[in-house]
Amino acid sequence: MNAKGTAYKYGDNVDTDVIIPARYLAIQDKDELAGHCMEDIDKDFVKKINKGDILVAGKNFGCGSSREHAPLVIKVSGISCVIAETFARIFFRNAINIGLPIIECPEASENIEDGNEVEVDFDKGIIYNLTKKEEYKGQPFPEFMQKIIKAEGLVNYINEES
């Protein structure tokens, strides 16, 4: 499995309130929700990204609330992968459980710049910066989590196991 696209870069501690503000949490329609993705940190986010693009951030991405709406709006908005130095733990679980590919890689987080073309090989855990002609080794997932990701989420995984 690979992801490829333009990188959009943000800083440390991007919280779930700026990813999807609580004033929209009563909305149940996924596409309507995704229209507000990252609105409070970058008003133009939804307009500027294309399907397949990659979100890059610093440490503790997705800190704050347990709202699964946060990884969901990122996935539905078309982002193919989030690369960060570290993820907040509930966001990390939620992303895996709903099938949003994420990868922890301090080196990629530091060196990828806004607008770089980036490709991620999930099987090898390698991130290629096509613009800067660099590659970075990400943290591979344990086998159990890889199974959930391959099943595209926890519900499918449980259905397959039962």
């Binding site: 149940q28 800190c63 347990s66 709202r67 699964e68 733990r89 679980r93 459980n97 519900v155 449980i158």
Partner: protein, 420 residues
């Protein structure tokens, strides 16, 4: 072979039916309680609909608390609550709490006796870590984990390593649990405990009320922690006996358990602490604030500080005083029982005479839902738990986190201040 474990690891081992677990190990644990609210449960219900396995694992071990946007703030939130109400009815969920019985979930569940020492609990709300105050393992998850938990009664966990916080000394009069946890978050940062347990220990704990301990465990997530946990002492046992008929089990960390880091905090040295925008780690002690920080609003309530002790402290500050003209002071008792007790003790009269408003229990303003939204340029001193950009309203508004004593005094003076 001696294989020591932390308190959290012992609870997880018990629930995974394993003699021993170690940090980093992936386990599947049996759950004593699965919690959801009116924002996260509708999403979990949709996920459950996609599962082959139908029904819930145990109708008595699920708690559904309508608290974030209720009494409903708009049509969409009303529809969300309706979907949960119908689900609770269809599956005969014993612990379903709606208007009239509801309270803010993390104040309500211990009060109802649904959480006791030794439990393993997940909740689709990040502040589920609150029940660690009772010596339980409890942690926040998302809606899909909640759905899987409701269906199977189990959840997967990566066994955490831990940081030990040794609390010593006696706190001075105006120092509360909020000051302790803000001090800790200021010291280690908002990701200082990422993926790890925060285990509190030491003889200073005996000076902390249960409400103080709930506040401290509640904000473990604001340091990135997986859970926060307190040892069980006489006060914990007294609290559980008063509120619950469920059997509890006391676990304690092995003397030689391994910790990633250890900190000693002398409670007698702490000063009232305020977290400045826009992260809970941006803390200053009250005497470090040199320029007056004028406020437009004060909020006293939430799962962090809406308990009886908090209201008593706020009332002791507000008694006979007036909220500064131009400041809105909003007080929200966290549960119906707390509300009633506050009425019986005359606290509500003190609040209303001071010019504050008192609301029915709700999470409301804490997450910028309703009941106290801020306009651009406005500032709020709040006893809640987060001060992120736009948390309580406009992205150009500001939230300052503090204890009930500081919030109440600031409401009177119109700028951030502490009772002498």
């Amino acid at each position: 072979m001696n294989r020591p474990m932390t308190m959290t690891q012992k609870i997880l081992a018990e629930h995974a039916s394993l003699p021993y677990v170690e940090a980093g190990q992936l386990i599947e644990a049996k759950l004593d309680l699965v919690l959801g609210n009116d924002i996260t449960t509708p999403v979990a219900i949709r996920e459950m609909d996609k599962m082959k396995k139908k029904g819930v694992f145990d109708k008595d071990k699920i708690a559904l608390v309508m608290d974030h946007f209720i009494p409903n703030k708009d049509i969409k939130s009303a529809e969300n609550c309706k979907s949960v109400r119908e689900f609770a009815c269809e599956h005969c969920i014993t612990n379903y709490y709606d208007v009239g019985e509801m309270g803010i979930e993390h104040a309500l569940l211990p009060e109802k006796g649904l959480t006791v020492a030794g439990d393993a609990i997940i909740g689709a709300d990040s502040h589920t870590c609150t029940y660690g105050a009772l010596g339980a393992f409890s942690t926040g998850v998302g809606s899909t984990d909640m759905a899987a938990g409701m269906a199977t009664g189990k959840a997967w966990f990566k066994v955490p390593s831990a940081i030990k916080f040794n609390l010593t000394g006696t706190p001075s009069k105006w120092i509360s649990g909020k000051d302790v946890i803000l001090h800790i978050i200021g010291m280690i940062g908002v990701d200082g405990a990422l993926y790890r347990s925060m285990e509190f220990t030491g003889d200073g704990i005996k000076h902390l009320s249960m409400d103080d301990r709930f506040t401290i465990a509640n904000m473990a997530i604001e340091a990135g922690g997986k859970n926060g946990i307190f040892p069980v002492d006489d006060l914990t046992i007294e609290y559980m006996k008063a509120h619950s008929s469920r059997p509890y089990k006391i676990f304690s960390a092995d003397e030689d358990a391994e910790y990633d880091e250890e900190y000693t905090i002398d409670l007698s040295s702490l000063k009232p602490t305020v977290a400045f925008p826009h992260l809970p780690e941006n803390t200053k002690t009250i005497d470090e604030i040199k320029e007056p920080v004028r406020i437009d609003q004060a909020v006293i309530g939430s799962c962090t500080n809406g308990r009886l002790d908090d209201l008593r402290i706020a009332a002791s500050v507000l008694k006979g005083k007036k909220v500064k003209k131009g400041v809105r002071c909003i007080i929200i008792p966290a549960t119906q029982a707390i509300y009633l007790k506050a009425m019986e003790e005359g606290l509500l009269k003190i609040f209303i005479e001071a010019g504050a408003v008192v609301s029915t229990p709700t999470c409301g303003p804490c997450l910028g839902g309703y009941m106290g939204i801020l306009a651009a340029g406005e500032r709020c001193i709040s006893t809640t738990n987060r001060n992120f950009v736009g948390r309580m309203g406009h992205t150009e508004s500001e939230v300052y986190l503090a204890s009930p004593a500081v919030a109440a005094m600031s409401a009177v003076n119109g700028y951030i201040s502490c009772p002498e």
